[in-house]
């Protein structure tokens, strides 16, 4: 039996499941993930917040040579999303053809599978983005 990686996932869970991040009490900027120091002003006075679940595509790339395990699925889109509260998140953009994606496209967070250990292992879930309905 392979050793499960679930403990590490548990720590990432709040970020992946709910877009949890921090807001700096000094400069008010928001960042994805658990941090101790504000990347913008260096303050340590941060609070944990749930980031906006909507935003727009800041930049993107179409991956034509997928990694092992997803060879059969064709090209997919990885984008940097500027969330409505100013924080940025990198993630896959789904439910849209790569030819229709453009910078500035409005997107919303969607909860999806992001991988699995193996056929018998833990399924990993987390955020992706898709065009707003």
């Amino acid at each position: 039996m392979s050793s499960p990686r679930s403990p590490r996932i548990w720590q990432l869970k709040d970020i992946r499941y709910r877009l949890l991040g921090v807001e700096c009490n000094k400069c008010n900027k928001r960042f994805l993930g658990k941090r101790l120091v504000c990347p913008s002003c260096g303050s340590r006075d941060l609070k944990i917040v749930e980031l906006s679940r909507t935003g727009k595509i800041y930049s993107y790339t179409v991956v034509h040579t997928p990694p092992r395990g997803r060879e059969n699925y064709g090209p997919y889109i990885i984008a940097i999303i500027e969330l409505d509260d100013g924080a940025r998140a990198t993630g896959e953009v789904v439910d849209v053809d790569p030819s229709e994606v453009e910078i500035g496209m409005k997107v919303e967070m969607v909860f999806r599978r992001i991988g699995e250990e193996d056929r018998a292992g833990i399924i990993y879930y987390g955020y992706k983005f898709r065009p707003i309905l």
Partner: protein
Amino acid sequence: MSDLRNDPLIGISGYGVYMPVYRIKIEDIAKAWGDDPDTIKNGLLVYEITVKGRDEDQITVAVEAARNALKRAPEVDPKGIGAVYIGSESKPYAVKPSSTVVAAALGLELGVRGADYEFACKGGSEGIISIIAQVKAGMIKYGLAIGADCSQSWPGDVLEYTASSGGAAFIIGVKNNDSVAYFEGTYSVMSDTADFWRRDGVEFPRHTGRFTGKPAYFDHIIKAAEGLMNELNLKPSDFNYIVPHQPNGKFPIRVAKMLGFKIEQVEPGLVTPWTGNFYSGSALTGLCKALDNAEPGERILVVTFGSGAGADAFSIVVQDAIKRKRDLAPKVEDLINKRKVYVDYGVYARLWNKIKV
């Protein structure tokens, strides 16, 4: 039978639906198997069905439906949700609850109980009943009940024309001015009828074909609906809508007629012709479609059905808050029509891992 017309009344604070954007047309499935498309479409009254994306499963569908339900319940602090129940027959894990993932995705962990209900297509309504009871008893303030499925079928099985993916979610609490509707009563029936099953360790279900109709679907739905109407002293004309379980487009219309309802009462809650059968989410998505268009004061009869077999009937009365809440999340017709991506049978089979490549 539970008469729910005594205090405290139990209301629906928010409701939400999710379905994948992918669709396959019935023609394309028929072509792949050499069937006549018109015979199938007219026989089942289904035109196209939803297909889950490669990264979707019953858990992701449940989370999205729940998020949409929460959008329609802005007054509900998610921390006030004390129970999460998901009804499903297509859980991604054979052993490990889906409800824990859904609760975590919504930020609910402390002071919350949850479980996965399983009764073929009736698990979702079992969750609703359990939450009604717990709210009524004062054990919880709010509860979240979800019916969600990404249903499976053998390649080439007639079920392939209807088995699809989607689900509906409801935030339930004591009735107040923010409730979009409230429950008047519920009535359930069940019997040991083997019309549809999947043995442990087997990938796809088996069914008795035509047998699924008469002694299973029709008998149970009729008994539950008539039982409820008798107990509440209501007749078909007292309801504006009837929303039965929808394994295809034909059965709900036929069972409504058998019960003495008119076609105009069943059509507003029909979803399967354009989505396929969401199994645990089928009648519940139909209820959401009826709520999307209902007026305050209107009465809805919902009857779920689960093979094996059993049915749960609910009488639901729409409230004023529906007017200001229905636009807070995507409506069923928008989800059906606004964004869809058609796939052909080859892609469909691959998305479902039916063909191992």
